[in-house]
Structure formats: structure tokens, C-alpha cells
Amino acid sequence: MKPAPFAYHRPGSVAEAVTALAGDPGAKVLAGGQSLVPLLSMRLAAPSALVDLNGIAGLDLVEVDATGVRVGALARHADVLASDDVRRVQPLVPLALAHVAHATIRNRGTTVGSLVHADAAAEMPVVLSLLDGSLEVEGPGGRRTIPAGELYVGPLESSVRQDEVAVSAFFPALAPGAGVAFEEIARRHGDYALVGVAALVDGASVKAGFLSVADIPTVVDLSGVADDDLGEAALAQLEPAGGIHSDIHATAAYRAHLVRVLTPRVVRAAKEGT
């Protein structure tokens, strides 16, 4: 068998899940498993127990009102992507979700799971960061809300504690008159991006979020920058902010080139959408 042995809990409520996590410091949450199961099979992770959320009723909600979109821990990427209400209230969510893996992975993987997993090459952490969204988590001490700005602390590391369950994520609505856009370069559609850029233009405020550039999702403020200087201005902020990384997929120099090319393109598209 590929994964190492683990104890298995299938709680019927979030409170029971928290109790199971708190009772075993080596326990981990299982949501869609689209990131965790490969790690188990390759034995890069060997938790002592898995706390499977899939039996908890009511966690699959996708709720939309004028203030934004709330996505429950068991809402699959595919369900969020298919919602016309989500598209209407915050179009950046489906624009980015369409680039998350392939449809078959999106049928099982959860949006909240991808936010907690905190892969710097993932789309949704950047979207949550750019929009100033938040994650609602429940632990032994009750519930707390983690603002996106405090969620990402390092590569594959979020500030969700081992004994906490992320219950839902909140993506604020697009303000009237504001515009968003998203684009990424990947070897094949559905692969993790070499570089991805999301932009939010609201009046004079221009912000862009970058995935697969630094170790964590990074948002830079480009307000007041002339269109021709957007790429260089973004790089000037990204380089000190944690550096542009090199890996087997792309060198730092190539990533910098993609930032120069994509940033003006995506900001322009967001402006056209206003």
C-alpha cells in the first residue's frame, strides 16, 4: 500500500473534528485529498491520523450576497466555478478557478483546502490575498477569522493551527465600477503556473497579486504607476518582498520576464473591465 498507516476519524460535526485534531498532535484534516493524498502516497507526509471532513453535513455551502461570496470547506472547486451568482458578485473567483488543475481534479478538490494548503503556485491564495478576503476557522477555543494578510507565513505554510478546521472562506464582492483580470502562463492548461497574475483596479487604486513568483502569494500596489512602467514597478516590489524563486520549472530570470510581460497585460484587462 502506498500511504503509511494512519488512524481514521470521520466526524459528523466540526466540533467533533476539532476534538479529534486536538487529541492527536500528529493528526491532519482530509478535505478533497487532491493535494494530501499524493503526499501520502509518496510518503512525503505520514500523519498519525486523518480527520476526514467529508461526512460533515452543511459544509458544502456556496453563499452569495451583496457583500461577497462565502465558500464552505466542502465546496468543491467545480461547484464554486459553476455558480452564476459567484461570477456576478466576484468575477475574479471563477476567472482564477478555471486555471486550477483540470476539471476532474476540481470535482473533488476544495477551494478552502487550496487556501489552507498555501501552495505559492496555487491560484486561490492569491485571489483571497488580492481581494483582502478572510478564512473562518474553528479550534478548541472557538472560532476566529484570519484576514488573508495574516494567512500566509511561508512556503506551504498557513497560520491555520494543527487543531483548527477551516470552516469557510470569504471573498469580498467586486465594488461597483471596479475591474478584475487574471492570466497565467503554464506549460499546459491545468498545470501549475510558471507565473500567474491577478489584478484589481478600483478608481485610482491598482493592485496586482502574483502566484508562483515568490515563496508565498504576493500582492503589490501599483497605484499611480504609468502603464509602460507596470512590469518594472512590480518587479521592484517583488524582488525585496521575498525574492523571485528559481526551480526546475523556470529560472528567476525567466519568471521576471513573465512578470514584465503579464503585469501590464493583466492590469490593462482589469481597467477595461471597469
Binding site: 500500500m1 502506498k2 500511504p3 503509511a4 498507516p5 494512519f6 488512524a7 481514521y8 470521520r10 482530509l30 485529498g33 487532491q34 493524498v37 499524493p38 501520502l40 502516497s41 509518496m42 486523518l50 476526514d52 467529508n54 461526512g55 467545480a78 488543475a101 483540470h102 476539471a103 476532474t104 481534479i105 470535482n107 473533488r108 499546459r188 492548461h189 491545468g190
Partner: protein
Amino acid sequence: MTEELLDVRLSVNGTPRPLRVPARRLLSDALRHDLGLTGTHVGCEHGVCGACTVLLDGRPVRSCLVLAVSVDGQEVTTVEGLAEPDGSLGPVQQAFAECHGLQCGFCTPGFLTTITAGLRDNPSPTHEEAREMVAGNLCRCTGYQNIVKAVERAAEIGAEGPS
């Protein structure tokens, strides 16, 4: 220490198939080893190739990325469940045969399940949509041209209705 076994109530291709497996049993291995349904193939076992794709309550998922215990009470459709009740080929299988959509056949079960669900959701795809439908599955032999043709042919067979 012997490992704890858990009961899983699975329905596979419309038949209840109760299982007793360790929690770490992947659905792909449960189908192949415990139930003997070796039509579901495993290539990469980490979600990339698509050979292991089955339908879970009708939706395509990677069976190598799902624990069998996690889908307790759900319905799984494998490639063995795609034939017609009389044993003849289902429309997508027939289209693959007609269009030479396979060579070695290793990837084929994953394509057949994916396309079956894809055509149910979108019975008359454009050429672009037909390509997109199979974009998450790898084939090392065919070069994909005949697979895309098979998607389009299966859509035609579907439109002609049951023969």
C-alpha cells in the same frame, strides 16, 4: 500489530460491493485488488495521468486520489459499467473502436469515463470543447487526434439515439 479494517459500503456499477479495508486503501486499489475490477488502470498514482478516472456519483474523479473509506455510501462507475446492459459497447466505447481512439489501451478506461460524463453534461461539444474535455488525460500512444474524433463521433451516436 495488525492494521484496523473498516467497513465501506460502496456501490459499484449499480451493485452493492461492501468492503473491509484499511483506511489507507486508495479507491483505485480497492477497485482493482479487493473487487477484482482491473479495468480501472493506474499509471502515475498521483493525479496527473487520468488513467484511473472513475465516476463518483456521476462525476469524474481520480480514484488514485480518493481513499475508499472517504466515499462510504457513494456510487462508483468504472469502465466495466459503461457497456450496454446486453454487454455490447456503450456509445463512447463504440466511437473509440470506430475512430481508432486507442492503441495500447492503457489510458483508455480513464478517457471513456471522462468522456461519458463530459457528453452527459455537454451532449454536442464544439471541436474546442471536445479537446478541452480530454485535456486532463494523458495518452502516450495516439497523439490525441483520434481520441478527439472519438469524442465527436460519440456525440453523434448519442444524438442518433439508442440503436
